[in-house]
């Protein structure tokens, strides 16, 4: 049975698209047939982060409007056999998404995929609402700072009231993904720590992704960061995906690995 997972946050720029790409790729690495859908109509970005931007032919809206078949719009990842991307439209506006259209596409995807990951736009408007509406589970991406935590709380409320599951009296399973976590700034008391955020939001923690240079590099070359399994951020995403898949893993919050003296000499650091 396919699972629909929304990656959402309320606040913009906290790492939803980065996380959608990483989690999608992580699930595919674990052998699940996975599709990541970009719901950010008008601001297409997932394709860039996943490195398939030059191969976009048709998009989500074309499929909803009957101009293309779903099969034609899905882009197969070049690295991972099980990974697909459904890009959004760059030129339409968000009104082009309809609830019936979204439902129809999701139903069709459910036939073929194990996981459907929905990359939500920022905000709590139409696009964000549609991205979460059919979700079975939600990954709430939060940065350790006040406005992000506040927006996450708002989104958690919406997940339990304005989704199909909620309307049917079923709870949407929620997971907290803390991203851009800077251990040093937390230690200096400049940023909220994990315990603070958990105490306030009171949902289970699925992972802590450190603030990391590797994330930027991964986006530069269009590769989901989870594929760099040497990096702290890559490992943290890999752990989060394992937990999503039901595995128990100790929470390790490594910061960005600082290069050792010899590595620096050898110039092997990125």
């Amino acid at each position: 049975m396919a699972k629909i997972i929304v990656v959402t946050s309320g606040k913009g720029g906290v790492g939803k698209t980065t996380s959608s790409a990483a989690i999608g790729a992580g699930l595919a690495l674990r052998g699940y047939k996975t599709v990541v859908i970009d719901f950010d109509v008008g601001l297409r970005n997932l394709d860039m982060i996943m490195g398939c931007e030059r191969r976009v032919v048709f998009d989500f809206i074309n499929v909803i409007q009957g101009d293309a078949k779903l099969k034609q719009a899905l882009i197969k990842d070049k690295r991972l056999e099980n990974l697909f991307v459904l890009p959004t439209s760059q030129t339409r506006d968000k009104d082009a998404l309809t609830i019936e259209g979204v439902e129809q596409v999701l139903n069709e995807l459910k036939e073929e995929f194990d996981y459907i990951v929905c990359d939500s736009p920022a905000g709590i408007e139409r696009g964000a609402h549609l991205a979460m509406y059919f979700a079975d589970e939600a990954i709430v991406v939060t940065n350790p700072e006040v406005s992000s935590v506040r927006d996450s709380d708002r989104v958690l409320g919406l997940l339990q009231s304005k989704t199909r599951h909620a309307e049917e009296g079923v709870e949407v399973k929620t997971h907290l993904l803390l991203t851009r976590y800077d251990k040093e700034r937390v230690a200096r008391g400049e940023m909220l720590n994990v315990e603070d955020v958990l105490e306030i939001l009171a949902i289970p923690l699925i992972g802590i992704i450190p603030e990391s240079q590797t994330v930027l590099k991964a986006s530069n070359i269009g590769m989901p960061v989870v594929l760099d399994d040497k990096s702290a951020a890559g490992k943290a995403y890999e752990d989060a995906v394992a937990r999503l898949d039901g595995e128990e893993r100790d929470m390790r919050y490594e910061g960005e690995e600082k290069p050792g003296f010899f590595q620096r000499l050898l110039g092997k650091t990125g």
């Binding site: 030059r54 048709f58 078949k69 034609q72 760059q90 399994d229 110039g267 990125g270």
Partner: protein, 91 residues
């Protein structure tokens, strides 16, 4: 398990980023506000093919690969086997 590493690339990832953006944006700007020519193109090609063969949208695969100087547009039309193939009269 295989692994990709960003490390050996050192700081060159920004160059890759620039190149990717230049290619993509050149295409997006050239397409202007109406890049939806592909659904139209597909529809028209399909109409022409359907005058001779019975194929539907399900049998069409459109691929594009945008490069710096040249892009490749690939359209594959799968023609059903002889049993289901009904060549239209006169063709």
């Amino acid at each position: 398990m295989f692994s990709f590493s960003l490390r050996p690339r050192r700081n060159k990832s920004a160059e890759t980023a620039k190149e990717r953006l230049q290619i993509l944006l050149a295409h997006e700007r050239a397409d202007g506000e109406s890049p939806d020519y592909l659904p139209m193109l597909q529809k028209e090609i399909l109409e022409v093919v359907q005058r001779h063969l019975s194929v539907s949208q399900d049998h069409v695969e459109v691929k594009i690969d945008r490069e710096k100087d040249i892009s490749a547009l690939e359209i594959n039309i799968e023609i059903p086997g002889p049993s289901s193939l009904k060549v239209k009269a006169g063709a």
